[in-house]
């Protein structure tokens, strides 16, 4: 057996490798530091997206999701993902199949044709779930080296990580969850309550693809609410929310410049980037500083203000 305390199979999905490779980098580094091994899932496909694919054809969505889970099963580890959308698909599909033996049998038959076996004995997890439930706050707290005491954070959960409540591991806590805030506050930062904290980022359910202005309008409202309470940065746990809050700021500043007044420039940081920094890891590796070895897109909204704020503590 491995010498790691925990082992998971990292399901990357689409947005992380295509748009924000630094999110993957930070997840891998932080988990390594936390004594958790992340295995690659060879041959993993799109999750497939819970809003789009499920809305068109549930059986197709189920088969592809079950196939992705079966790759982790073959390695004997829980699939884990850093994306709320992938989490929504993998966990809902797993949950639905566990509660519908007939459908499960049907899916198993289909997968058998491509030589895959689906068992359903390993629950798909979100990286936040692994941090909060598997490792626990005390374990994380012991590894924090730096405290960002003056940092005011607007925490954005996103949707799929908490809902539907009966398929999630948060013990019925879905109207006002605090698990992500608790992790953020381990770093000494303060999670600032703001209006409609649990509102959608605007991107989900193919809204971003279909009507970008509407998606940006959601984002505008969220950003306004966050700016009203004076947050320094936005912390999230989903690359799609990350995209919408990051690139979305450019769009909002463009579409709604007449009503927003001052353009938005709030740095958007992924949870493991903040956590990694607090654990004393290299900001270059976490994708927080411009790194020439790292390819991919740099943030649309500059994170310089954040780095300036935490510089002194580091």
């Amino acid at each position: 057996m491995s010498e790691y305390k925990w082992r998971y199979g990292l399901f990357l999905g689409c947005v992380i490798p295509n748009r924000y490779p630094m999110i993957e980098r930070s997840i891998r580094d932080v988990f390594e530091e936390l004594d958790a091994e992340l295995l690659d899932l060879p041959g993993a496909s799109c999750c497939p997206a819970p809003g789009v694919f499920r809305a068109f054809h549930i059986p197709t969505w189920l088969v592809i999701a079950a196939r992705n889970i079966s790759i982790a099963e073959e390695l004997g580890v829980n699939p884990i993902t850093g994306c709320n959308g992938c989490y929504g698909t993998l966990r809902d599909a797993w949950f639905d199949l566990e509660h519908n033996p007939e459908e499960k049998k049907h899916i198993q038959t289909i997968l058998a044709k491509v030589g895959r076996t689906y068992k359903g004995n390993l629950e798909p997890k979100h990286i936040v779930q692994a941090l909060y439930l598997d490792m626990g706050l005390n374990y994380l707290r012991d590894r924090i080296k730096y405290k960002f005491n003056d940092l005011k954070v607007g925490v954005h959960y996103g949707c799929h990580i908490v809902k539907p409540s009966d398929k999630r591991p948060w013990d019925g806590e879905y109207e006002n969850p605090t698990f992500l805030d608790e992790i953020v506050e381990l770093t000494g930062a303060k999670s600032i309550p703001y209006k409609d904290k649990f509102m959608c980022c605007g991107a989900g359910g193919a809204v971003r693809t279909a009507v970008k202005e509407v998606a940006a309008d959601f984002t505008r409202e969220k950003l306004t609410n966050m700016r009203d309470v004076g947050v320094d940065i936005i912390i999230n746990c989903c690359p799609f929310c990350h995209l919408q809050l990051d690139l979305g700021q450019v769009e909002v500043n463009n579409f709604y410049k007449d009503i927003i007044g001052e353009p938005f420039k709030i740095p958007v940081i992924y949870i493991t980037q903040l956590l990694g920094l607090a654990m004393g890891m290299d900001p270059n590796r976490l994708g927080l500083m411009k790194n020439h070895e790292l390819t991919g897109v740099s943030p649309f909204t500059s994170i310089e203000p954040f780095l300036n704020l935490v510089k002194e503590q580091l």
Partner: protein
């Protein structure tokens, strides 16, 4: 009771002659299965000498059929294939008894609940199951033995658990009828939740003005012994003869010496939240709950007291009544009947995060609003917002908080009082502040009682209270701690967002958190909603399934004050009827020891949950006390020598049921 003169002697040795009577139960049974075929099937069973079917066996004519057959000497055992024995076993036993046959030679096959009702859509399956039931009932009937009922005297006294409006009313009624009553209340005063209310709907009479004199009546009633700050810790025995142990919790104040001068309260340095005002006002560590408390006894709350000794100083407590070393006292009483009137707890809305209770200061519960409105409450009847102690200009009420909620953690039932109490509170506030805006968010208004609909109508028309049909989705805090409500108006079909100064959550009623303790103490069942279960929902609404134990008030299910009082009177009347008879029959289902088989190993003695087994040191055998034995059968299954027999459920009888149940399938499956 007319008992037949020519009693039929049955010893169990003669050949059984069984009569089977198949009931149509209107179409309940006959509408699903062929009752004539069932009758014919019964005739094929061994020892069945005659079988009949009839529309309603429980009717006068149906009963006569059985009676005539017994009296004609045709049968000496009776099987009725009909409904559940819960309702009609006593009916048919009486028929046997009146016809001169020992009533325990009767057996009932339940082919309605167990066959035709549950398999309504599968008549063939139902028919097969009905046949099985009849065959098993006939099998047991073949092995039945005559038994004699035991008569026990009934102690003319009653234990009432809970001193709220239900318990108090039952106590007064029973006292007036001449029965001794022990009224046990766990808080330091009687009065219950009703004492916390300000006015009562729909008559708007002052709750305190009704209940305070009632509390004094109870204190004066000559046969009522009030045991406040006490709890029932042990109940032993059976109908008519319950042995009850009551723990009187220590007051830490010698009530004999205390003159209730109140000097100790003034001197006490500890200030804590007053439970009676739901934490919205303070009390000292030594206190009486509220000025009108009965009995007006001072109590030290040891959870908060630091034993500084100031109240015990001779210049403070002149009569020297403070006892820091006071110990609980145990009181043993014997009662014939018990009434459960333990009341309710308010649903705690903290878990419903979307309504902000516990997060936003200006979100309160309905019961807190009641205390705010109360003329002897924390703000003397002039409600204010908790955040700034100013009168709110607008209030919203949200109905069905915790009730009619099919999500996890909610209660599915309707709490029956919230629509009216919210309407009442809204009207009361409007009377004080006609300019205020009041909104009531509801699912539908249930104004079912006498005068309730009129009360609701006038709240809308004359008081201008805004009723909005739709639930609140979520609330958040706006400027100056105002509550911004997001909801849907389902009549106008639009989403609305309004800002109010205060939000009142009309929380529902739920069973007491520790109901399970009472339930196991008294062996009383509870229904799925947690409230105590009545013996029959229509015909025995105040009895429990345990003989001699009655239930009154919200302990049985949510109800308003008039219904609670009516049920309390019903429970008192049920208890009185039992005690007036002086003696009751108890079923002879106790275990008996076959002396020559008993080896005296005492296995049964340690296992008996009712302490009904003694040991005869001279004969070295176990002895069962029939009065204490509840017929659970634990000793029978534990006895290594097979020396225990439980009457009416003997091994011989149970084996016969199993034999005939199994035999059929082996034959139908081809012999072996």
């Amino acid at each position: 009771m007319t008992e037949s003169k020519n009693e039929i002697k049955v010893t169990g040795k003669e050949e059984p002659k069984i009569g089977v009577y198949v009931c149509h139960c209107g179409i309940n049974i006959a509408g699903v299965v062929d009752v004539v075929a069932l009758k014919d099937y019964a005739l094929t069973l061994p020892n069945v000498v005659l079988a009949r079917e009839y529309k309603f066996m429980c009717s006068d004519n149906g009963q006569s059929l059985i009676k005539e057959d017994i009296e004609a000497g045709l049968i000496n055992r009776v099987v009725v294939a009909a409904c559940s024995p819960r309702m009609h076993e006593p009916t048919f036993r009486l028929v046997c008894k009146e016809a001169g046959l020992n009533q325990f030679l009767f057996n009932q096959a339940n082919i309605r609940e167990h066959a035709t009702w549950v398999n309504m859509k599968d008549p063939e399956g139902a028919y097969e199951i009905a046949k099985d039931h009849i065959r098993m009932a006939v099998g047991k009937a073949r092995k039945l033995l005559p038994l004699e009922v035991q008569k026990v005297s009934v102690e003319p006294s009653c234990l009432i658990i809970g001193g709220g409006i239900a318990g108090m009313n039952a106590a007064i009624d029973l006292s007036n009828e001449g029965y001794k009553v022990y009224l046990v209340e766990r808080t330091p005063t009687i009065g219950g939740h009703m004492a916390q209310l300000d006015k009562t709907f729909p008559t708007m009479d002052c709750s305190a003005c009704i209940i305070t004199p009632r509390m004094v009546d109870v204190a004066r009633a000559k046969n009522v012994e009030i045991l406040t700050y006490s709890e029932v810790v042990e109940v032993d025995g059976y109908v008519g003869n319950f042995d009850v142990t009551i723990m009187k919790k220590p007051h830490y104040v010698d009530q004999e010496k205390c003159t209730a001068c109140g000097a100790c309260v003034e001197s006490c340095p500890i200030v804590c939240g007053n439970e009676f005002d739901l934490g919205m006002a303070t009390r000292k560590a030594i206190y009486i709950p509220f000025p009108q408390a009965v009995p007006g006894e001072y109590t030290i709350d040891m959870d908060h007291c630091i034993q500084c000794g100031i109240c015990a100083r001779p210049d403070v407590c002149e009569p020297d009544a403070i006892r820091y070393d006071d110990k609980p006292e145990y009181l043993k009483v014997k009662v014939g009947t018990i009434i459960i009137a333990t009341g309710w707890d308010l649903y705690d809305p903290t878990e419903l995060k979307q309504y902000g209770f516990g997060r936003y200061p200006n979100v309160i519960t309905g019961l807190q609003m009641e205390r705010l409105l109360s003329s002897f409450g924390p703000v003397l009847g002039k409600p204010v917002r908790p955040s700034d102690i100013k009168a709110p200009h607008s209030i919203a009420f949200l109905q069905c908080v915790g009730s009619r909620n099919f999500k996890e953690g909610g209660h599915t039932y309707c709490s029956r009082v919230c629509c009216m109490y919210a309407t009442k509170q809204a009207r009361q506030y409007k009377e004080k502040h006609p300019e205020a805006d009041i909104y009531i968010f509801y699912m539908d208004i249930r104004a079912f009682g006498k005068g309730y609909e009129e009360f609701y109508e006038s709240a809308q028309r004359e008081y201008g209270i805004n009723y909005i049909r739709g639930r609140i989705a979520e609330v958040y805090e706006g400027k100056e701690n105002c509550i911004v409500i997001r909801a849907e108006d389902t009549i106008l079909r639009k989403l609305i967002e309004i800002e109010v100064d205060m939000l009142v959550l009309s929380c529902g009623l739920e069973a007491r958190a520790d109901s399970d303790k009472i339930s196991s103490l008294l062996s009383v069942q509870r229904s799925a909603d947690g409230f105590f279960m009545e013996a029959h929902p229509k015909l025995r609404p105040v009895d429990t399934l345990t003989d001699g134990i009655f239930v009154a008030g919200v302990a049985q299910g949510p109800k308003d004050i008039p219904d609670t009082v009516a049920q309390a009177k019903g429970a008192a009347s049920g208890a009185a009827a039992l005690m007036a008879q002086g003696e009751v029959e108890i079923e002879p289902y106790f275990s008996v020891v076959i002396e020559h088989l008993c080896s005296g190993c005492r296995s049964c003695q340690s296992l008996c949950p009712f302490g009904a087994i003694d040991f005869d040191e001279f004969k070295k055998i176990a002895v069962v006390n029939p009065a204490k034995c509840k017929g659970c059968g634990t000793c029978v299954s534990a006895c290594p020598s097979g020396a225990m027999i439980q009457n009416h459920f003997a091994n011989l009888q149970l084996n016969e049921i199993i034999n005939v149940a199994v035999k059929k399938s082996t034959i139908e499956n081809g012999g072996k």
